[in-house]
Symmetry: D3
Subunit: 295 residues, 6 copies
């Protein structure tokens, strides 16, 4: 059973809208190595888990639950990058005006035509997310190895995204996910270490001097690259694996008992040029009556 | 942010394995009108929500969170229907034996070949789940109408599944989802009622004498067809909409403050014929050491 | 602009339902070389036609219009093969009954679960029809050659379907389409003949002694393998091409001025086990009022 | 059986070519809520229709036939927007010239590379049309509700397209389809009204002051937003439903007995840079002989 | 540049046709972890290779070339399993006969309807092979890790196939590929060993007592599980990596300088019921003239 | 069995990088009528070949083998067009720099985000290559006709690519493939000629004055438009068909006994901004040790 708190797992820094960056970030949401894949892959692996290796189940499933919050974070980031990008506010435009003309020129036209300046379950090239991305062989060693490759590839792509844009909104989430993908990479590497593998000097993948990416470094200085929360209201055994020396030889792993505070979520404003939410004043009055209901 | 409790939202009744029924249930999991779609559609609609109509956001998102638990429930049900269906237990088979021969004859061969007798993110005809299923126009009235059609179609398909199999494992989850889809249908119908629509006698869709389906009737007698929980650790305004007379004219809607107890989850056993989890005795010993860790 | 008459282009012979044959016929409807492809390919080629070669446009478009009627015919044939295949009639079944159990065993489960014992826009392996099937290069010679390959492949597949089933319903439509695909093949071959190609002895493809297929021979004896109607209410120039000796050296081509009579269409009955159309007696009464309206 | 007249259902206003606008309009042709979907969905629903509710069948099928003409109209509009966009006319270009260079910069490269400056069965993001878009549950109330959502979503997208471009060619067809989608929306809303639903103030969806879109208003002033033709050569019962007060409370619905006049279709010119139709002078002479044939 | 010898890389043992086994083997050909994927993945990785690590390039590319021969082997095996499965030989059947009736009952109908009892580029559930399967991140460590997971998953699936059928034709190729996938797994594991990784006791994946699979053991006794040929006419540096102790601790790796002898390929016979090759006696005579040409 | 020489089948002329041209060339690699399709189609047709017409098998398979080298050539060409397009060389960029910003503006973002400035198995609109492209009906005449249409369409698209870009790198490969597609077109046309077809004046398709494309003319002056090599180490009977007068009436066909010399392949340099190959100095040292191994 799953529960929700209406907060973001990390703060999004405000900046100008940028639909091309929004489109790039779709890879991190709906791409073959994006957050929808990690979320679904770990949930399926935990629903289908075989054998008695409870700490391994709790580790995979705990990361899976964190990924749902990542989906929420990156979708919201994409919204912020899209929202208002047509630089148009107010009423439905008068004759001749083309407030959505930007849609013909930047990013993915579906962000303005199918969605209403909001995130979509697609990748940066417009391919819809596919269930065929989910890997769940049932063989524990293989599932762990695939998870490691998945996290490392996701992190590689986010490092490339970092170098595509310096929009602060985009980078605040990209940097956060570079760090979290690294933690997840280590979690699976550590689990394989318990089964006898030694990683030498290859971790994390990709390996580089993080001081070149100050937004990333800031989060590492806070220790976020070595901490994992279990996201369970009924306790978890994941810490039996996720503790002790990092398999990347850069500190000590910690399973935290307290979830992060979370950042407030700002609701999107109405966009008349998108007919979203598209309410007439008559319908708005009906909604205000509902909001006034006491229950 | 999302949280988890390692329990099922409803109990699964034990019965014989049945891979053909397992395959049929995949439609309810990964089909165009299955639980993965409802979950993703409502989460995207809430992440991309525009305007100030907070109770409507909370309603859509609350149902979305319940759907994650439905994905967990139906995936686990499919596992129970698959697990052990080859009627083979024990070591890797000796020469000449074909313990997985059933895979050539019943259901979807991928359940035995790609997965290890476990659920997959596909429909009953083998199509992988697609992001193109998610509907999120940004227009509130349209999103609510589409959600209503989605729930009613999901319920229609589950009614048809009910008539395809009388396996108790399958039916316990089918019956539960027939009732829950009905509640969600009513939730969206009620939300449209607050905007001025009157439904006459068409609800619920499909409409039939539930006493013909005793497993469904049992849950309705417990009132489950008129109750909704909000699944929020930080409160919810959904009850401003979900209360008062049912739009199907069959009782009173209630938003519950306490989540269900949940049913325990039984972990799948090792299946040597699937090499799942495929651990040698050496690796099993390493895992036992991890399980013995005190943290 | 398009118009309709509620009749079938050829008669369907009644026989027992057969869901496996119905599924096989889906290839002829929604397969890569089925009627939806021919219809869409010729319509796109005619909408996008370049140059002044009017008789060629009229030929391609005229065949395209005939193909819409073929889609209607084969979809209806599939319905007849599916309808009643569960051998169940009457009310929603009582507890324990599984009137749709056949769906787990024969044909494509989607015929019973997604559709209501009716045709779907998919092929015999369950793949949905795709726009990528449509070939329209804009080069006239290439488009004609591709159309010839398309018709010949469609005909080849229908010949194979003929050998898969002897259900009379299935065979009446299969035989008709074998003959019509042959005519269309000749039409494109003849158009290429006007551009200088000589076909030798390779036509029609595939080439065989039609007397082995009596249902086909009966239609050929009526001359249906050498006639084409133009389906235009405002006249057509296609006969400038489609006349004279057949490129398969088996008679004389004729463009007919009168459309076929058409066969009556029998409406499907209600199927309570499918909740289709799923009307309660209250709703049926409302519908009877509408039927009684005089306008 | 289907018939054709070589005329367009509405006039296309000439303007400059615009490949980016052409690409945007592809959503209206081959998108998930475009005209190919409506056409196929209503045709399948009518081929698979169950029960005796003849006026409902005639309504759905009649709209389906109109949609074929919409496919013809929007495909032709896309052609006009693409044709000549490279600003190149005449012979195959000399060495070094790149008459198709525009294809690397604007719209969808497939319009120039796979097609010959002509429409394709894809959406504005390049996804091919898919048979999985077609909804046909067999449950009459659900099919009508889905049709309503489909038309309203199509109309929403066309309103957004209106705000993306002020090219007159594009807008003449966009405006026409905004009005026709509204009529179809009302037709399904009215059909549900006959089954007891009351729509309050939510129709049409989206709802806005049409005087902001003069091209739309002009057509409404002609009454096109409340008229439906049946497109049947053998009569129709659809008027039993489609008459009386509009469910959007904006006038009276009328089923017209006479089809529209139709606008002439201008054939595309040869485009040597596309090798379309790609005829040498030898082949052109052969074609002229065919055109001179008297039959 | 690539070259060919018309021989198979391993012998196929004759046995009865078995279309269900043929369909299962499609996973090994066109599945997400089948031979078409390995072939394309390694070829793309080598075409796109960056940096000076020549032995790594030669290793990846050499395995890629071997995979083309695996595609040839498994496609031919599927043919042998399909060919003659309808138990029909001779002329096109007389009226009433249904020589292809088996297509409605076993395996994938496309094997008889789209192909002519021959292999298709699809998986065991009928999904066409997709370019999205190819992994080529450009990061050397990640590409090697993914290749390892790919080979191990391919081997896991072939082990499961082994347990699905004891048809000798199927098993001769399955056993061969289990052994070759193991060698490729070791090749990538060894390459990662040179970069500092130590694998402990997890290799090969999956790990089991091969004496339970005598067809596999026979090939291992010949040493095939530790040998790799480079398939290059111009020499190769792959042996700099592929030599010395096996990372699975089961012997010594050897790069062979001489390719295997190869087994003769038996051409498929004509199948009149498939109209394949579908030659009339007139056409056969023309072909005999070509065969008699001296050049 | 397949073999390899690490050389390109034709030389690539150096020029500036151009990611938009790289993207356009993807159609020739991974498009529906690109080299991956021709390669796979001819290999499947030869693996599944039926009947005794050995020269026809050898012709189809020989061309298939050449196509693997075409895949190698065009993939490498795309690499050259992408490599260095960000105009960035050296270390990972400092904070604020966005060396991959070009990815948001030109071509396909996946070339920089999923690949590392390297070719992908997709078309110019981003669709992944699909197994459904492969045509192999088993009917010899139809397979030959489809192959002819395939080559002619591939050639048509390459002629259009020629007119999209004058980048010398792009054009050197485009011109080569225009000529080779013409040869393959003639090969299939000739094979059909042996079965009685006469092509008149329609070949080659498309037909134009090649002197307008000097890069093409240069290769034709060398006779490359009438020569075919058999690519077999064990001899071939293809010359029984491929000899004598060209079916395009432009010279004499020759089957060459000696393969082309081949052009050297230049390995891509490391791209730090892509983390490709992403080796730290520690890992580079390990690799140098491997390169120093004597075996």
């Amino acid at each position: 059973m799953f529960f929700h708190v209406q907060k973001l797992i990390n703060e999004i820094i405000p900046d100008e809208p940028d639909p091309a960056a929004a489109n790039a970030l779709q890879e991190g949401l709906g791409g073959q190595f994006g957050e929808m894949r990690t979320m679904m892959q770990y949930l399926f692996q935990s629903f289908n888990f075989r054998g008695k290796a409870k700490p391994y189940l709790d580790l995979i499933q705990g990361i899976g639950v964190e990924e749902i919050s990542h989906v929420e974070l990156i979708a919201t980031t994409i919204n912020h990058l899209l929202d208002g990008s047509p630089r148009y506010r107010g009423e439905i435009p008068a004759n001749g005006a083309t407030p959505l003309n930007i849609a013909l020129k930047e990013g993915n036209i579906h962000h303005f035509l199918v969605g209403a300046q909001g995130a979509l379950p697609i990748d940066a090239a417009g391919n819809p997310w596919s269930g065929s991305y989910v890997y769940n062989s049932g063989n524990l060693v293989l599932d762990l190895l695939n998870n490691l490759v998945l996290e490392a590839t996701g992190r590689l792509q986010k490092c490339r995204l970092y170098e595509m844009t310096n929009n602060k909104t985009a980078r605040s989430t990209i940097a956060y996910l570079i760090v979290r993908d690294e933690v997840h990479e280590k979690a699976y590497a550590k689990a394989l270490e318990t089964l006898g593998v030694q990683w030498g000097k290859i971790l994390p993948i990709p390996k580089f001097d993080a001081s070149k990416m100050p937004e990333v470094k800031r989060l590492m200085d806070m220790g976020l690259h070595n901490q994992l929360h279990h996201w369970r209201l009924d306790g978890s055994e994941m810490s039996k694996i996720f503790h002790g020396p990092s398999p990347a030889q850069d500190g000590t792993l910690t399973t935290t008992q307290k979830p992060p505070e979370g950042a407030p979520i700002k609701l999107g404003e109405a966009r008349p040029e998108e007919f979203a939410p598209g309410l007439t004043s008559e319908l708005e009055k009906l909604i205000q009556q509902i909001e006034a209901v006491k229950v």
